[in-house]
Each structure stands twice: as C-alpha cells, then as structure tokens.
C-alpha cells in the first residue's frame, strides 16, 4: 500500500513585499512512498528538500499538484485538506521534526519531550517515565532532564527534538537532518530508534546530508536538484 502519492507538485513563493518577486522552489515533483518505507531526501542546500517536506506537512501551501496521504480514515489530499483535517492528522498520525528545536520558555526537557503525549491526554506520570527512558537511550545527561532546553548545546537540543518527535510513535514521520550535530555513538542510537519505528510500521521521509546515516537508514533515496527530482534510486531489497 502506498502511504503517500505526490503528483506534479509545485511550489512558488510570491513575495509581495519585494515587488511581487517570484521564487520557484519546487516543480514537477512526482513520487510514491510505500507504507513502512524510509526514503532519504538528498540534495545540495537550497535544492528544495525542506520545502518539499514543509509542503507535505502543510507549513507551506503547495502552488499546484496533489499530495495524497493514505490516512487511517482513508485517502486525503494534503494540499486541499481543511486546516482542521490537518490539525487532526498532526495530532494522530503525522509528525514533523525540524532541524532546529523551537523551544518553549520555562518548560523542562522532559516536558518538552512529553508534549505530544500530553496533547493526547496521556497520564502525566507515565508520559514523563517514557520521556526519561527515551532521553536515557539518547544519552542526555540526567542533570539536564529538569533544565530548560533554551540553554542547551546544539547536540543536546537536537536529541530533545528527535525524542519529542518519535516518542508518540507517529504513523508517518517527516524528519529533517536527525543526526547532523551528533557524535557517532548518538547517531547510531537515533538510527536504531528510527529503524525501530519502521519495524512497527512507521513510514519515514528523512532529509540528510550524512552518508553514514543514509547508508544505515534509508530504503531509497530521492535526490533533488534546483527544485526537481534528479534521480530516484532504489537500494536492492
């Protein structure tokens, strides 16, 4: 079963405040993704990787084309879906993990990781236990668990970010550079955690520049060049 079918997707930015300047970020994007598959999105900076991911998550409004997502409740075009449908999908199925942690002031590391669990009304004590377990696996020092992530280092923030995204075991995960500022050992942990999600049926679209991560993690690669798909290369099954 396909979890995602992207047909003729395009994205332009019309910058009214720059006298209507038009920037073409994506064009003629076509690909499908099977359930439980991990696709690696590669390409130079500025090639449109994040734009594609944001169009799928609907942080960007696609200019044309369709993105058919096969949800638990049936097929839906993420380009045309209502805001409320998207909110529902984000709550129950689709998670986006950005490259940078956008932190909330005065919320502890553990509670930041719990965010999605709290939102789905999970018992707070249980949720915090799960978060601690996750942070333990990711090697975040226990002394930081009750601290506020605003002051953390890049690698520490990234681990919080990844933990927050995967703790609720989303059905479809969009993840941007999950291993970029991590050491080798932590990279392996992150790769294993994502592979573990895959084992449980999660489909993953992952942006990465890191050859090691791609090698270990992805089933297929999708290379973008100047907003278009350059090649779709499958690794032998």
């Amino acid at each position: 079963m396909n979890i995602l079918e992207v047909n003729d997707l395009g994205k332009n930015f019309n910058l009214h405040i720059l006298n209507g300047k038009r920037i073409e970020a994506l064009k003629n994007i076509n690909f499908t993704m099977k359930e439980g598959e991990i696709i690696g999105l590669t390409g130079k900076s500025g090639s449109g990787k994040s734009s594609l991911m944001k169009c799928i998550y609907r942080s960007y409004l696609a200019s044309h084309g369709e993105i058919i997502y096969n949800s638990v409740a049936g097929k839906i075009d993420l380009v045309a879906a209502t805001d409320h449908q998207i909110i529902q999908l984000r709550k129950n199925e689709i998670t986006y993990c950005s490259q940078f942690l956008s932190v909330i002031p005065r919320v502890t590391a553990v509670d930041v990781v719990c965010e999605n669990l709290f939102r789905s009304q999970k018992d707070k004590f249980e949720a915090r236990e799960m978060a601690k377990e996750m942070l333990e696996k990711l090697g975040l020092p226990t002394s930081l668990w009750d601290a506020f992530p605003v002051t953390f280092s890049g690698g520490e923030q990234q681990r919080i970010n990844v933990a927050r995204a995967i703790i609720a075991r989303p059905r479809f995960l969009l993840i941007d550079e999950p291993t970029a500022s991590l050491d080798q050992k932590t990279k392996d942990v992150v790769v294993d955690l994502i592979l573990d999600l895959k084992q449980n049926g999660t489909s993953v679209l992952c942006i990465s520049h890191d050859e090691y991560t791609l090698e270990k993690l992805v089933d297929r690669r999708l290379a973008l060049y100047k907003g278009e798909i350059e090649q779709l290369e499958g690794i032998a099954e």
């Binding site: 609907r58 942080s59 409004l61 409740a73 049936g74 449908q85 956008s102």
Partner: protein, 282 residues
C-alpha cells in the same frame, strides 16, 4: 477521510461592527485595499466586518494584527461587551448551537457569559473588581454561575489560585496589592472558575516583563492541555501566537486578510500584509 465540518464549538458569520452612520458604500470603500477603516463618504468607522470562522472544541485560535485592526473588537462582540452592527454567532453548548447568541436577550447573554465563557482582558482592572479580594473575585464568577455554597466556593477558589500559582494565603487580599503578573493570574483563575468550554484572551501578556510573560503563557498552555478549553487568543505579538495557537487569522483594517495553520502563516504567509508582519518579526 471525512471533512466533518459540523464539529464546531463556536461558529461566527459576517460579524460586523461599525461606529457612526454607514451608507451602502461604507463596506466597499474601507478595508486593507484602501488601507483605512474610515468610510470616506460618511466618516463612519468599520471596526470589523465580514468576520467568518469556526472554532473547534479544544482548539486555540489566534487573532493577530496591528493596533486598530479590529482584533479586540471581535472578542468583545462575542463576549457581549459591545453590540454588533450585523452578524451572528452560535455556540454548541447553548441550545445545541441552534440559536444566534448575539440576538438573545440581555438576561440570556448574561447566562451564556456566566456559564459558558471566560474572558481575560489586557488590563486586569477590566476583568477584576478591585474592591473585592482575589478570592471574592473568583467567588463572584462562581455565584453568577449558580454556585451558592460558601464552603465549596472557597475550596474552588483556593484550588484555582493554586493552579495559577497565586499564594493561597493571599486569597483575602485585594488584587490592588498584587504585582501585574499576579493580577493577571487571578484574572485567569476567575475566567476559568466556571469551567467554561470557551475562553477569550485579549493581549494577556502585553506589558508584562518577559519572565512573568513566560509564566502566564505556561499557565495558559497547561490549562489548554489539562482542561481542553477552546481559546481565542488576541495578540499583536507573533511569538505569543506561535507558542499558543493551532490556527491564526491575520486582521488588517477590520478585515481578515488571511487565515491558516499558525506555522503556515508564519512560514509561508500569502497576503502582503502577513508577509510584512512576519518579516518584521525580531
């Protein structure tokens, strides 16, 4: 996947407020296209016009825009602080959403306000009675919602003050002796005392210093997570909007110029004014 468009808690259609005598051209000659909300023919002022939206249970909706864009007017109309020129609103828990609450009698409006809504104003003086103690203020709201048992009222008041981190020992002190942040937290306690399904927050962190601001925002997030209250958050501060809301409406000159998911408004704004607003963000 079904659209399920009927799941709204609050439905608002064509909500409009005009000060002064308008004529048939007033609406056509005002708005973002003219960069003005003053009618050139009649000098009437269009505070807001043609406001349409649905708010879902537990959802947090932001209204953002510059001063005078009409964002506060929208919540004040819905909380019956002023009267609309035209427009309608329906609230699901009130007669199953079949009756336009804006055309109800004053007595019924008071009932709706006391039982089904809460409001937190920018200025605590608008939401609190400074002649009453902080506990007394909460009691006032509870009594109006039909609670008469003094013991229960005091218990609920101390629970609420606890929740909002106001020292319970100060329950019998007047809010005038509190700091601004504490007054704001008492006001929030009062607003949620009757467990309303709908809470309006009008510039609640404006004027507070950043540490107090963070505390108030925290409290609001927690209330939303724990109690699932639907909220309309009015703010000119995009960081407040980003932190609290799922969806956002951008207003200018009394009109909604754009609405969408908050992260979309912030990352891919479509309207010229939204682009200007977002690019001005520090």
């Amino acid at each position: 996947m079904e659209r399920n468009d009927d799941n709204w808690l609050l439905r608002v259609r064509n909500l409009t407020k005009i000060y002064g005598e308008a004529n048939e051209n007033t609406l056509a000659l005002t708005g973002p296209m003219f960069n003005s909300n003053i009618c050139p023919e009649t000098d009437s002022i269009v505070a807001c016009a043609g406001i349409d939206f649905d708010l879902y249970p537990g959802e947090v909706l932001g209204i953002v825009g510059e001063s005078g864009s009409g964002k506060s007017t929208v919540v004040k109309l819905l909380y019956f602080d002023m009267e609309q020129t035209v427009g309608a609103a329906w609230l699901k828990p009130y007669n199953d959403g079949l009756i336009n609450i804006l055309s109800e009698s004053n007595q019924k409006k008071r009932f709706i306000r006391n039982h089904l809504m809460g409001m937190v104003y920018q200025n605590p003086r608008d939401g609190l009675n400074f002649r009453f103690s902080s506990g007394g203020n909460i009691a006032e709201k509870l009594i109006m919602a039909g609670n008469m048992h003094v013991g229960h009222i005091r218990e609920r008041a101390s629970d609420l003050l606890n929740k909002t981190e106001v020292p319970v020992q100060r329950m019998d002190d007047r809010p005038s002796s509190f700091s601004g942040g504490m007054q704001q937290r008492v006001q929030i306690s009062k607003a949620i005392a009757n467990n309303p399904p709908l809470l309006f927050l009008d510039e609640v962190t404006t004027g507070l210093d950043v540490s107090v601001q963070a505390r108030v925002l925290d409290l609001i997030r927690e209330l939303q997570q724990d109690l699932g209250i639907a909220m309309i958050v009015v703010s000119h501060d995009l960081s407040v909007i980003r932190m609290l809301t799922d969806r956002t409406m951008v207003m200018k000159n009394g009109r909604i110029v754009e609405s969408g998911l908050t992260d979309q408004i912030l990352q891919d704004p479509q309207h010229e004014y939204s682009q200007l607003l977002v690019s001005s963000l520090l």
